[in-house]
């Protein structure tokens, strides 16, 4: 049989090699590390199953895993509830000031979890938190309104961090949904709520489930917030244990790696579930040859409560934490009472005199753009092949492309270090690019997959019947319809890469320190105020990026789930 070499085949081969080198090799290194015995400072050369037994069957690690899963489930449920409610109000109702709300709801995306946590420590500490002190001053009570150093505090900060994901994923789908089915329901006498629960939300199920899956996995692998606060209440999650095993003495790298494989299983199970539930993708097509927006749902008597809900969310998730970040950046040291002698502009002066800051900004922006472009291209190609040319190899590649989302950044960073330390890219900005592509490729695959699923294949079939090749149909039909999705994936990845810390910490050299590493370095040195100032600069950069893109290109970040 003659081997037919096609353009698609060549592209597919290149993709496969890229995914293998960038994604699979570091993962294999990490998994391999789980099967070694340990010395006090690293791995020995002896193979051992003991670590895997400790992690998979030991009471301690099973407790850490349970803590992580339960926390993740709670955070996911709350984030989805708030995020979907916000998305419905903005995307499908007649709530006023949608443009402003839309922008403000996304601002928490621009705050890294660590800087957000620092803000909430200042706001919510039991004795000295600004909120508690204000409450006591106003009411005369001695009660603590809210203590950030609690399980509730962990959930609170994480929910504020993840809600924009739920909002982002759901809103794009809602905005570009064909409204004829909702109209039909209302004309048949269904109430607004019934229409939402019976028509609108089920039609957005792929996007909602993609969001829930992503949030669950990301929440399960987050270690900064549960670790920093959890230490105070004797609460340990598996990711925090991974961090301790990798960075404390005695070093337990095999335990870190083995624990990483546990989180990998969670992602695999989640992905399998997603594929089964959304198997009949045609049921979720919301963009076809016909298009009809439909009229917004009238809120009527609930408009005021809805506005209060939205304003309350924005106050708690944007105004208070970002405002506190700015306040911290202008203080000489942390303090509960803001006396005149505490203020300073020194940190902003220091920032502009730090020799490496300019290099950090340049490196950060360059990596953001490059990783975004590569992730979009590779992600779309992988999802296209999976959905339009399904085969074992395309599904396997899609699966591999998504796996890194489940591996904690720290563990993946160790795998990357082992993979690339002997190569010329080590110590350069290119090793960071490889790390970012590997880490964010899952977003490119998941989001573009969801976008492709909502476009009926008939549109491409029409092009094929007119003589176009599959790649031409993809380029001329699918990609334009997915334009908003692709551009929003690009900027989503850019934002995430600007905040990336786990792998960057391990792979940055003296000349390639990105902004997030710089922030961490100052925080870790106890200089929270200077770190806050860097955090303000980083946040403003991201905000400028989003506003600029919206103003210049009319692209909205939330248009990630549907194509038009």
């Amino acid at each position: 049989m003659k081997l037919k070499i096609t353009t698609f085949g060549v592209a597919w081969l290149v993709l496969g090699i890229l995914v293998f080198v960038v994604v699979l090799l570091p993962l294999l290194h990490t998994i391999n590390a789980a099967f070694y015995a340990e010395t006090d400072v690293g791995l020995s050369d002896e193979r051992s199953l003991q670590t895997v037994i400790d992690v998979y069957l030991g009471a301690d690690y099973l407790r850490y895993l349970w803590n992580a899963l339960l926390l993740s489930a709670v955070v996911t449920a709350l984030s989805m509830a708030i995020g979907i409610a916000m998305a419905l109000l903005v995307g499908r109702s007649d709530i006023p000031a949608k443009g402003v709300i839309d922008m403000l709801v996304l601002v928490p995306l621009f705050l890294s979890p660590l800087t957000g946590l620092i803000s909430w420590i200042s706001l919510g500490s039991g004795s000295t938190g600004f909120l508690n002190m204000a409450f006591r001053a106003v009411t005369g009570s001695t009660t603590t309104l809210f203590d950030i150093w609690s399980y509730g505090g962990i959930v609170w900060v994480m929910v504020l961090f993840f809600t924009p994901f739920a909002y982002l994923f759901t809103l794009g789908s809602l905005r570009q949904m064909d409204g004829s089915l909702e109209e039909a329901a209302r004309m048949s006498g269904a109430s607004v709520l019934k229409t939402i629960f019976r028509i609108t939300l089920p039609m957005s199920l792929p996007a909602i489930f993609a969001a829930a899956l992503l949030i669950f996995i990301l929440a399960a692998e987050m270690y900064t917030i549960p670790g920093m606060i959890g230490t105070n209440i004797g609460f340990t999650t598996l990711p925090w244990r991974i961090y301790q095993d990798a960075t404390s003495y005695p070093v337990r790298l095999a335990h870190s790696a083995a624990s990483g494989t546990v989180l990998l299983w969670i992602a695999i199970v989640g992905l399998v579930i997603q594929q089964r539930i959304t198997r009949a993708s045609e049921r979720f097509v919301t963009v076809s040859g016909k298009g009809y927006q439909g009229t917004p749902l009238r809120l009527g008597a609930v408009k005021i409560p809805a506005l209060i809900f939205v304003i309350g969310y924005i106050l708690l998730s944007v105004v208070l934490p970002f405002g506190t970040l700015v306040v911290s950046s202008l203080m000489k040291y942390s303090a509960a009472t803001l006396t005149p002698d505490i203020w300073t502009l020194k940190h902003y002066h220091d920032i502009w005199n730090i020799p490496r800051l300019q290099r950090s900004i340049t490196a950060t922006l360059m990596l953001a753009v490059l990783s975004g472009v590569i992730v979009v291209f590779v992600g779309v190609m992988i999802s296209f092949a999976e959905l339009r040319r399904p085969s074992f190899s395309s599904k396997a590649l899609a699966f591999l492309g998504v796996l890194p989302v489940a591996v904690p950044g720290l563990v993946y960073g160790i795998g990357l270090l082992w993979t690339y330390s002997a190569t010329p890219v080590y110590g350069t900005i290119w090793v960071l690019l490889l790390a970012y592509v590997a880490k964010f490729l899952p977003y490119g695959v998941l989001i573009s997959r969801s976008g492709i699923m909502q476009i009926h294949p008939d549109l491409e079939h029409s092009a094929r019947m007119s003589g176009a090749s599959q790649l031409q149909a993809m380029r001329l039909i699918l990609m334009p319809l997915m334009r908003m999705t692709l551009v929003s994936v690009l900027f989503f990845v850019m934002l995430m890469s600007m905040k990336e810390i786990s792998a960057s910490l391990l792979l940055s050299s003296g000349r390639t320190q990105v902004l997030s590493v710089l922030t961490w370095t100052y925080m870790d040195s106890g200089n929270y105020q200077l770190a806050a100032a860097i955090g303000v600069v980083q946040t403003l950069l991201m905000l400028a990026l989003v506003i600029g893109v919206r103003a210049l290109f009319g692209v909205r970040l939330e248009s990630a789930m549907s194509a038009k």
Partner: protein
């Protein structure tokens, strides 16, 4: 894992004592000993990379001061806590990708690197001026002492209470201090200093495991890092912290934070951290040697005392740290030196005992 890496990781588990008496195991490298010639050679290189775990602000001040003293030679500071520095340096060495010129590690890690040939032999000009215990042969040097202190917020702890804390470590068990204390469950060399002393068999009648348990009964707030605990004391969330070291708090004191510290007796005073040396495969070997020479010189020591707050190990350098002139300053009167073999053997078990006692993250 490569064989080299395996050898290295094995050696790290038990090489401290041998390495400290290794002396000049390596042959002296052939680099200029004349300061002018060394400077010229360093200028040709242009820069050096310094791996250090000390606070970035302090390290940056050192780097800037060096740059002013030696124009044309810049220092790239890469802040890496001890263990991460060891892992990265080990991996880079095993892979042949040499990035670091100067390292700053704890005594155990540095000793292991010396034993395995990863540290250059370089006798700094101030060699005879350095106290003997701050030298590992002619390869590594400890620039400053690490003390152990109790930090307190002056708005939360009265002068009478501060005097109480300054007397003896048992004062922290006073019922009046219940719920007011901050501690850390961080596992690090400086974090272990006090625990190591509390579990010294010779001091069992004063402290011992029961002492740790009683600290836990005081319901301390447990923070994952020293710096977080320090920040919470400064903010007034907790009144005092057990234990800190001067380098961790001096920068904030200099900025006017309402804090002071005391040294209860006996006071762990050690050289377990910040051992500095030139990498045997330094990409900029002349610049690295120049930097080490400067840091271990009286000029460098003065800058270090101002920026780090740690007392210099050079005999000829007086203690010019500003806070020592303050009327409240409580100097170390009864230093306690760690038992290094017991340190190495018991670190893990002792820290586990500490974590269990304070009820930190389980």
């Amino acid at each position: 894992m490569t064989q080299l890496h395996t050898r290295l990781t094995r050696a790290l588990a038990g090489a401290a004592l041998v390495a400290m008496t290794a002396g000049t195991a390596m042959a002296q490298d052939s680099y200029p000993t004349d300061p002018a010639a060394l400077y010229e050679a360093a200028q040709d290189e242009g820069s050096l990379v310094w791996y250090t775990g000390t606070p970035i602000n302090s390290a940056q001040k050192m780097a800037e001061a060096f740059g002013e003293a030696y124009p044309g030679v810049t220092v790239e500071v890469v802040r890496l806590p001890n263990l991460q520095q060891m892992q990265r340096f080990s991996q880079e060495s095993a892979s042949g990708r040499h990035m670091a010129d100067v390292l700053a590690l704890d005594n155990v890690s540095m000793a292991a690197l010396i034993k395995n040939g990863f540290i250059a032999d370089w006798k700094v000009p101030s060699y005879d001026d350095i106290v003997p215990e701050a030298r590992m042969g002619t390869q590594a040097y400890a620039p400053f002492y690490i003390d152990t202190a109790i930090l307190y917020n002056t708005n939360k702890v009265s002068e009478e209470e501060a005097k109480l804390l300054a007397g003896d470590w048992n004062a922290i068990l006073d019922p009046r201090f219940k719920g007011r204390m901050a501690v850390t469950n961080q596992k690090c060399a400086v974090c272990y200093n006090a625990v190591h002393m509390f579990l010294d068999p010779k001091l069992a009648d004063r402290y011992g495991p029961e002492f740790l348990t009683k600290i836990g009964e005081q319901q301390p707030a447990v923070y994952p890092e020293i710096n977080i605990g320090v920040d919470r004391v400064i903010a007034g969330e907790k009144d005092f912290m057990v234990t800190v070291f001067e380098s961790s708090v001096v920068p904030k004191w200099q900025e006017g934070a309402p804090i002071r510290w005391v040294h209860p007796s006996p006071t762990p005073l050690s050289l377990t951290s910040a051992w500095s040396a030139v990498s045997a495969n330094a990409p900029s070997p002349n610049a690295a040697r120049l930097f080490l020479d400067w840091w271990m010189s009286p000029e460098g020591a003065k800058v270090q005392q101002e920026s780090y707050g740690g007392r210099s190990t050079l005999k000829s350098v007086p203690d010019n740290r500003a806070f020592t002139k303050e009327p409240w300053y409580d100097a170390v009167t009864e230093p306690y030196a760690p038992d290094l073999p017991r340190w190495e053997a018991n670190f893990n078990a002792d820290m586990d005992m500490w974590l269990k006692a304070i009820g930190g993250a389980k």
